[in-house]
């Protein structure tokens, strides 16, 4: 999967097989897959940046874009997180250990972690938005010395929907994790309320902090408002946009937001980069 942009002979739409090494249920209708490319050479040559996405498919069913949720520093295997919402995700979530799925990519731009070295990082995730951020967080934890304080603000609909809950304890060794849910159950002794309330319990230093944010559009609106109040500049805030991406190479036009292609110029963009693109966060 080493890419040569401009090479005419390569059929970009050809996927490569990967095998399911492990699969588990993370939340109702959400599954976590550990995968490995069938081609041994590819296992080592495959590289990506947190926030980039893959087109994942099952032959005869179809293709859909997914952010990788494992760290780019993890070699030999990679991980995906799939919530069942349509035909492709329903079929993917029926896969068992040893089954094959098909992958092409990675596509787009991820979080520019290399440029963020030396800074504090705040990860702000709403719901499934944790998926690409888990990759970046694990990468940042791995490269411990490169960053200052790591903080995760994570909001989900209810405790059941919290993803990677079993990993929070490990993450807390290298990062501060603050979690809130919209609706609590009887067993929940954590915070209840919107994600913006978590800003009250953490102490951020806008002058040396970069923000990595992924979640539904409604969350962007409130989170960005709060970050502005705290004194964050547009250039410090990176968001990962969801769009209906099909080709991944800027031809099919599905993912365009005004004049930019989410698949090629995103899905991760700073608020500065999308200034003036009023429909980007809608």
């Amino acid at each position: 999967m080493v890419r040569e942009p401009g090479s005419e002979s390569r059929n970009e739409y050809m996927p490569v097989p990967a095998k399911v090494l492990a699969v588990r249920e993370l939340a109702p209708a959400v599954r976590h897959f550990v995968l490995r490319f069938s081609d041994p050479e590819l296992r080592h040559s495959f590289s990506f940046c947190s926030g980039q996405f893959l087109q994942v498919s099952l032959l005869g069913v179809g293709e859909a874009p997914f952010a990788v949720c494992s760290s780019p520093t993890q070699t030999d295997s990679f991980e995906l997180c799939v919530r069942e919402t349509g035909n492709v995700t329903r079929a993917l979530n029926r896969l068992k250990k040893g089954d094959t799925l098909w992958v092409r990519g990675p596509y787009g731009w991820g979080f520019p972690l290399a440029e963020m070295a030396g800074q504090d990082l705040v990860f702000i995730a709403g719901g499934m938005g944790l998926v690409p951020l888990r990759s970046a967080l694990k990468c940042a934890v791995c490269l411990d010395d490169e960053f200052g304080r790591l903080t995760v603000l994570y909001g989900a609909k209810n405790p059941e929907q919290l993803l990677f809950r079993d990993e929070f304890a490990t993450w807390r060794e290298g990062a501060r994790i603050e979690v809130t849910v919209d609706e609590a159950g009887p067993d929940w002794d954590g915070r209840v309320g919107l994600i913006t309330r978590l800003f009250d319990v953490v102490d951020l230093s806008p002058e040396r902090t970069q923000v990595l944010c992924c979640g539904p559009p409604v969350m962007f609106k409130f989170v960005l408002g709060r970050l502005k109040e705290l004194g964050f500049d547009d250039g410090q805030i990176y968001v990962s946009l969801e769009r209906n991406m099909r080709c991944g190479v800027g031809k099919c036009e599905h993912c365009v937001v005004e004049s930019f292609y989410t698949c090629r110029q995103g899905p991760v963009l700073s608020i500065e980069q999308i200034r003036g693109i009023s429909s980007a966060l809608r």
């Binding site: 999967m1 080493v2 890419r3 942009p5 401009g6 090479s7 005419e8 002979s9 390569r10 059929n11 970009e12 739409y13 050809m14 996927p15 097989p17 590289s47 940046c49 980039q52 498919s57 032959l59 005869g60 069913v61 179809g62 859909a64 919530r83 919402t85 349509g86 094959t100 787009g108 731009w109 991820g110 520019p112 290399a114 440029e115 559009p217 969801e242 769009r243 209906n244 099909r246 080709c247 190479v249 800027g250 031809k251 099919c252 036009e253 599905h254 365009v256 005004e258 004049s259 930019f260 090629r264 110029q265 963009l269 700073s270 980069q273 999308i274 003036g276 693109i277 009023s278 429909s279």
Partner: protein, 374 residues
Amino acid sequence: MRFIATDRIPGLLGRLVESGMSVWAPQVVKDTVNTVLFAPWTGLEEISLDAYTMLSAKQLVLPATERLFSYRYTLEGGRERIGIEPSPPADKETAVFGARACDARALAALDALFLPEEGSGYRDPGYAAHRAGLTVITLACTTCDSACFCSSFGKGPAETAGSDLILYPVEGGLLAEPVTEKGSQIAAFDIFEDSEQSKPELATTACIDLEGIGDKFLGAFNDLDFWQRATENCLSCGYCTYACPACHCFNIFDEMSSDREGERCRSWDACMFYVYTLETSGHNPRPSIAHRYRNRVGHKFSYYPANQGELLCTGCGRCIRNCPGGLDVRNVLKGLAAVEAATEPGTRKPGPSGPEAGKPGTEGPSANGPEAAR
């Protein structure tokens, strides 16, 4: 100039077929009164050069449905194996006879996206193969209808971009003027003769002012009332996108021929459909017809020109001629200027992906992007 008599046109097409080309020419669709489409010509069909084709010639470079690869599950020694086979790029030489300047120009506009310069984007191998094998024989327009507006785009009917050979209707036949080497080779056929006739006067169509149209569009972007009024009669049927010579959206999907085998295909899609931008989460960034039509107009007159340096409209008029809701993009384009005048200047600036976007090296935040990862 070279000349071919009207009655020798089938002879010319025959020569092209003999040379191994697949020849497409406008023909009246069987059992219709006047529906004309480009269709394969094998020698017997009557060609129709008077009417405009309902669909453009883009199907010859972007087929309505095209296989990307095929797959097959097999059993080998009791173990299931899956094989996938890429579709070989088309190697057939094709000639389209009787395209119009607007059709040909649209191909040139599509080349900018699908065949970008080395290093500035993915060169689509399927498109490249079709395009390399295509010879465009254009019929220059000496007449036009009320939907035509190609004169708004510079040379209008005299446009040569995208054509290999241009034929001008004159008394008794057609004058031939080559644009490319491919065209010269055809004009050299002995079925043509030398002629002293001069080129006829070409049509002048309705004309709209496209000066600064991209900025005018951006000025009207946030006036959703304007877009709602513009699309009051729009059915969101997508006809305009299919008929458009420059629309090129596609979807990717799998088609099973049995539970053991099938293919992954791409096929024309339409940005006017609700599901086109519908995300898996249920969120839709373009929920209304007004949002979708605004994107369609913006893509043609602002975004694509900013990214690719070409307008994505050639004034062929197909979206006007056959729209069941009677929408006329010309009225919308004229209306843009009025909205802009009513909007305070500077309230909306083009974003960072303005003219620089799409150029090599400017399309991402840092060196941490995909190219670096690969």
